[in-house]
């Protein structure tokens, strides 16, 4: 199994959700996040005093998938998340030892 994590622009959430559903992913977790990459943040002005806001709002999407699907799913998410502008985010996958469905106790791929 793999855990795919995507930190992306908040307004792409709907497109990503739709793409994941179309692919056949049953569940996902979404968290509000903040951070910055190469683009850094933006500047705000209050009575002439400038403040640099480094951390910009992002969302973090987590999906558990089977190994065979992982590569393809990365592409699906990237395609749905991309705007082509700076700050589109990152997607990565990491191996997962095991997963358990809390209600039934099912383990491994059955728990997905």
């Amino acid at each position: 199994m793999k855990l795919i994590t995507a930190v992306v622009k908040p307004h792409r959430l709907d497109e990503i959700k739709e793409a994941l559903q179309a692919f056949g992913v049953h569940g996902l977790t979404v968290t509000e996040a903040s951070g910055y990459g190469r683009q850094r943040g933006h500047t705000e002005v209050y009575r002439g005093a400038e403040y640099t806001v480094d951390l910009v709002p992002k969302i973090r999407i987590e999906v558990l998938v089977e190994d065979d699907d992982a590569e393809q799913l990365l592409d699906v998410i990237v395609k749905a998340a991309r705007t082509g502008k700076i700050g589109d985010g990152k997607v990565w996958s990491v191996p997962v030892d095991t997963a358990v469905r809390v209600r039934t106790g099912e383990r491994g791929p059955d728990a997905l």
Binding site: E44, V45, Y46, R47, G48, A49, E50, Y51
Partner: protein, 447 residues
């Protein structure tokens, strides 16, 4: 304040219209103080919101009582040496008949006293913006009680009281550019020079926590200011109050646009805080001048004040004094601008026949305005600094540094403005039951 209009053959009688108008104006001026509280309250960080609101609110309590006890008497009692007034009938408002009219006007003394009380309340509250985040609430309360007594009551007498030196000199201050705004702005400067900067000034971000509150406050100020300005003629028998109302609207609009234009050019954006600040700068500047200038003059006064104040708010970073919410930049600079511009833009056809430089009156009125402006500025600056110094040396002006960093609301008011404990709807706090009373506790032990 307007000179008494006395017609020898025709003594004034109570006007129900003027009296009703002035009662409404008084209520309008009162709402400026909570308005100011929100204007300031939105500009501070989350952790000191309540303290900022309370510094204005407490003024409504303390100054009201002082005004009744002796403030009205000091400000508007019989003159003594052009410095201060006193009339024993005004002490405790005890010797005033309810149908007795204020000196040459058509409204009761009670109405005049309560209208002027609202000015006395908001003036010390204005100072608080410079002291955000760092002053003990007891020290602030003591400061405004003493400041009102030593500075505001006498200065109100100088400017508006029959016999006061500025009044007799012919200084024009329609509704308080000198007595209120320059007075409060200079006091703010005096106090912050004594108490020093906030922890982290120029290092930590101190951006406003709620611009919607700032806009709400600015809106209430703008609304209430019509009472402040239009009411200051104590009626509207000759149209001067109406001129003032119109000019108030015009100058405020002009100043808001001027501030926004300045910051768009300078900083690249039309900011919300700029719109609110520009409006207040215009209100401040038209306060002394609105009875003397024409509506077109009001555009000039507002626009000039808007740009000057927008430029002035940056000075604190240059000179290193921490005027937290720009009381000096907006009220002192705006008040000075509005007062001095009378020397140029007074038409001679409004509240008095004194004309300014652009209307053929020469520089005579300008010099009078300078005397009023700098007399009040110097007195208020020095007296306020001395007062702050004395309080600092006795009970201390500032909260300890760790309290300032953690947030003054918790320590001084045992409250916080917002509940951000998300998980479980308030899981970060728990209820502590009240301690049992002594009698009940001992009974329990006996049983």
């Amino acid at each position: 304040m307007a000179p008494a209009i006395t017609l020898a053959a025709d003594a004034p009688t109570l006007s129900a219209a003027n009296t009703g108008f002035m009662l409404i104006c008084s209520a309008l001026v009162l709402i400026m103080t909570p308005g100011l509280a929100f204007f300031y309250g939105g500009m501070v960080r989350v952790k000191s919101t309540l303290n900022m609101l309370m510094m204005s609110f407490i003024s409504m309590g303390i100054i009201t009582i002082l005004w009744v006890l002796y403030g009205f008497s000091m400000a508007f009692g019989t003159d003594s040496g052009s410095i201060v007034g006193w009339s024993s009938d005004f002490v405790g408002l005890s010797g005033i008949g309810k149908m007795e009219l204020w000196d040459g006007y058509t409204i009761p003394i009670y109405v005049f006293a309560v209208f002027q009380l609202m000015f006395a309340i908001i003036t010390p509250a204005l100072i608080s913006g410079a002291l955000a985040d760092r002053v003990k609430f007891t020290a602030w309360s003591l400061f405004i009680a003493l400041w009102a007594t030593i500075v505001y009551f006498p200065v109100a007498h100088w400017v508006w009281g029959t016999g006061g030196w500025a009044f007799e000199l012919g200084v024009i201050d329609f509704a308080g550019g000198t007595a209120v705004h320059i007075n409060a702005g200079a006091a703010a400067l005096g106090v912050i020079l004594v108490i020093g900067k906030r922890v982290g000034f120029k290092k930590d971000p101190m951006r406003p926590h709620s611009l919607p509150l700032v806009m709400l406050g600015a809106g209430l100020l703008w609304f209430g200011w019509f009472g402040f300005n239009a009411g200051s003629w104590l009626g509207n028998d000759d149209g001067v109050g109406a001129l003032m109302f119109v000019n108030t609207q015009i100058a405020t609009a002009a100043a808001m646009l001027a501030w926004l234009a300045y910051e768009k050019i300078r900083h690249g954006a039309f900011t919300t805080l700029g719109a609110a600040s520009g409006a207040v700068a215009g209100l401040v500047a038209i306060t002394p001048s609105g009875g003397a200038v024409s509506p077109l003059g009001a555009i000039a006064v507002g626009a000039i004040a808007g740009v000057l104040c927008a430029m002035a708010v940056g000075l604190k970073y240059k000179f290193g004094y921490d005027d937290s919410l720009d009381v000096v930049g907006v009220h002192l600079v705006g008040g000075v601008a509005g007062s001095l511009l009378i020397g140029f833009f007074a038409t001679g056809g409004g509240q008095s026949d004194a004309a300014g430089l652009f209307y053929g009156g020469g520089l005579d009125q300008f010099w009078k305005q300078c005397a009023g402006v700098f007399g009040v500025l110097a007195y208020s600056l020095v007296a306020s600094a001395v007062l702050a110094f004395l309080i600092d040396k006795t009970i201390g002006m500032r909260v300890p540094e760790d309290v300032e960093v953690a947030g003054i609301d918790q320590e001084e008011h045992a409250e916080t403005a917002y509940d951000f404990s998300g998980a479980g709807g308030g899981a970060a706090t728990r209820t502590v039951p009240p301690a049992p009373v002594a009698g009940a506790a001992s009974k329990k032990v006996d049983a």
